[in-house]
């Protein structure tokens, strides 16, 4: 009788100075769904990569079916029956869904080895059979990149089932799904559990954990903070462990005093490009001296809206900043008109991670005085400006010339804020400001945002943390399926916000 389908014992893993996993032990038995929760950057994905053989732990070991194993690579983990559905999609976009389904374990019609012929008929039959079992319909000949996201998600899971994975790791599988699709997914996962498959399920959403999991473990800053059977705990208790202690993050709640309209958006819409979400007829206003929170399940158009406003994405409709029409202006001009933008993706968009701290702090101001007269850059002035900005937000760093990658996540984010708030823009577009930032950093970033607001700045804030939104915002708008489906007071009932978040799209 197998007791441990997949187990981790005292796993440690660090990336440079980041201690991503600091001695984590957990296990999941056959027929069990074990949820792993924790804040962004807590170390969940790192642990999963270790369990899947993508990363080697610095120390600790992995157990599969009651045996200690060591993986040289993901192929070994796969051979042990461990399958993972990644946070990012793992389908080759230019291959068909069917080709993706069988990739790596092709049914053969003739021959052996690399040049064996693939039996596409039986592949399709298998695919259809599996899809039927789950109760979905898949057009197997469609190019994967052109299929809807949930179909891509399902195909990934089907692929693993087909390969006989008895241990499934799902890393935030619901992040990109609509509520209806989430239910479908959960049904699917439950059915798989019935077959005796062990499931590790990573999520940010406590509701999902309560609905689906048998056991829950909270990881906080690379350590296990809490672990219990779901039946014996409550959502509140789990939440309190995620955010350390009983109270959500930092400080008193202050509200601002709104002034005149700064951002005026009317009838904004955008088509979906590649994997993005379309925007439908969005209208709202943000006043000076207020923070407007934008709530919503990830992937409902928040990112696209922020990009459309900042000029990074094409959109139709009217956008005015303090009475100036921004229509047709690119990112550069919108910036010049008084707009700051905090990207949700710090490593790939907010910063040039290999460039120096200095350059990251001044980028965008490098063409204007005092740094430049348009022709030359005054390195002295550049240094002074950078120092002034970094000091203002108390960024801790070694040397200005060090790559910004050498900073901790919180300090990296402060560099972004230092840069984006520097010219006293009228409007700050802020997405996921505290993702992967430690607690002190979070408090500091919150107070930066409040100070900005109190100096009559306007803020549009996107965050997946409802706590954060409610604490910072003066009012909250909810987005679902590319539309704004409601606007509420900041201290409105969470259940009401939640209800709006999972609202089905209105109309087509």
């Amino acid at each position: 009788m197998t007791r441990i389908a997949l187990g981790a014992t005292e796993i440690r893993k660090s990336y440079g100075s980041v201690l991503a996993n600091q001695g984590i032990s957990l296990s999941v038995g056959p027929g069990e769904i074990h949820a792993v929760v924790g804040e962004n950057g807590a170390g969940k994905s790192t642990l999963m990569r270790v369990l899947q053989g993508i990363e080697r732990p610095d120390s600790g070991h992995v157990t599969v079916m009651d045996r200690d194993v060591s993986f040289a690579g993901p192929a070994d983990a796969l051979a042990e029956g461990i399958g993972m559905v990644h946070q990012e999609f793992m389908l080759a976009p230019d291959l068909s869904l069917l080709e993706n389904l069988v990739l790596g374990d092709e049914p053969l019609r003739w021959g052996r080895g690399a040049f064996a012929l693939i039996d596409w008929q039986s592949a399709e039959a298998q695919g259809r059979g599996l899809a039927e079992r789950i109760g979905i319909e898949v057009d197997w000949h469609r190019r994967a990149g052109a299929a809807p996201v949930h179909i891509q998600q399902f195909v990934e899971i089907i692929r693993l089932l087909r390969r006989g994975s008895r241990i499934l790791i799902l890393d935030e599988p619901t992040a990109v799904l609509a509520p209806q699709q989430v239910n479908e997914l959960f049904d699917l996962v439950r059915r798989i559990r019935e077959d005796g498959t062990a499931i590790l399920f990573i999520s940010h959403k406590i509701g999902e954990v309560m609905a689906l999991a048998d056991r829950v473990t909270v990881i906080r800053q690379g350590k296990i903070a809490f672990s219990a059977a779901v039946a014996e705990t409550s959502g509140e208790e789990i939440a309190s462990h995620i955010v350390d202690g009983s109270n959500p993050v930092g400080g008193e709640i202050r509200r601002g005093t709104p002034g005149p309209v700064v951002l005026d958006v009317a009838g904004l819409s955008a088509e979906a490009v590649e994997k993005s979400h379309p925007l439908h007829d969005i209208s709202f206003a943000v006043h000076s001296g207020e923070i407007v929170g934008l709530a919503g399940v990830a992937g409902n158009g928040q990112v696209e809206l922020m990009e459309a406003l900042s000029g990074l994405r094409q959109a139709k409709g009217r956008v005015e900043l303090a009475g100036i029409d921004l229509g047709g202006l690119d990112a550069e001009r919108r910036r010049a008109a008084g707009m700051g933008y905090i990207s949700p993706d710090r490593r790939h968009e907010g910063l040039a991670i290999d460039a120096s701290i200095e350059e990251n702090a001044i980028a965008g101001s490098h063409r204007a005085s005092p740094i430049s007269n348009g022709l030359w850059v005054d390195r002295g002035a550049m240094k002074r400006v950078a120092l002034e900005r970094l000091n203002r937000l108390s960024v801790k760093y070694g040397a200005l010339r060090d790559p910004v990658a050498s900073l901790s996540g919180g300090n990296q984010q402060r560099v972004v804020f230092a840069r984006e708030t520097a010219g006293s823009p009228q409007l700050l577009l802020v997405s996921q400001p505290t993702r992967g930032v430690d607690l002190n950093g979070i408090a500091a970033i919150h107070s930066i945002l409040r100070d900005f607001r109190d100096a009559d700045g306007a803020v549009l804030l996107v965050s997946e943390e409802l706590d954060e939104l409610q604490m910072l915002s003066d009012r909250i708008m909810v987005m679902a399926q590319g539309r704004i489906v409601g606007a509420l007071d900041a201290d409105a009932d969470r259940r009401e916000i939640g209800r709006l978040m999972v609202m089905e799209g209105v109309g087509a």
Binding site: S310, A331, A336, L351, A352, H366
Partner: protein, 342 residues
Amino acid sequence: MSNWLDRGLGFAVPLLIALLVSALVLLAIGENPLDTFSLMLTEGFGSPRRLASTLSAATPLLFTAVGTAICFRAGVFNVGVDGAFLIGGLAAVVAGFSLPAELGWSLVPICLAVGALFGAAWLFIPGWLLARLEVDEVVSTLMLNFIAVAITGYLVNGPFLSRQSGNNVTPPVHEAAELSRLMPPGTLHSGFLLALAVLVAYAFWTRRTPAGLEGAWVGLNRRFSRVVGVSVQRTIILAMVLSGIVGGLGGAAHGLGQLHRFTDGFSAGYGFTGMAVALLAHNSPLGMLIGAILFGALASAGTTIQLFSDIPLDLVNIIQGIVMIFAVIELGRIGIRRRVKA
């Protein structure tokens, strides 16, 4: 500190591999590798005259290396500097013999400017195609190189053929359009100083100009660049145009300073050797100076050692080929498979 070590290794490793292989080859044919290498060293650097000859051979490589580095920094894998060198060289030479000789000293700057202009226009094409249409720059610039060879080859046998010569050459440029020699009787000419100036300008540009900073950011992270208000398209086009200017200037200097005319075989693959130099040097100005001199020495010494030994020229090709193959070990950053949608 470790950065410097890395850069040093970046040079040393491919060179060592090349020397090792060529030592084996030399042993196989019964030559003493140490003797050969020391002969090469003497021929490359053994006297002021030899050094001048090396620098003379390094001059076109300095231009093409800088021209290439400008684009590599911005994440643009431009392999078309050779084409710009040809086009710029021919244009400058044509100006140099067809403009009135009475222009006197001003001929030199005019001809250089013409070369730069044509080089810029030439690489503007792939720059625009990349920025606006996302046409893969590796292929477009490679194709344009072949086209440049064809066009200049045609012109030098047709419209611009010298009547006095038994070869495909243009008439010589006016004497006033020639670049002066630095160490007569050696062929080292003031184009070398121009190359150094270009190198300094490149160093200045990378660190002291807004566009230079933007180039690096676009090379490191295009999404970031857009967020901080940098036009990626403009930066790409600018990098290509600057690259064309430098390549065209190089061709102009070669035409006005070295050959005093345009001939068939005007560029002995300078663009490609310059590319290897830029890659070896990780685009650093000092590194490119060293790299260009090393390759210049290889070309110059590799030829003259034939006067004193039985080492054939093929050895030079073997060394150069190996250095190029191993030039970019670890320089994964300029992958050609990245295209963040601009």
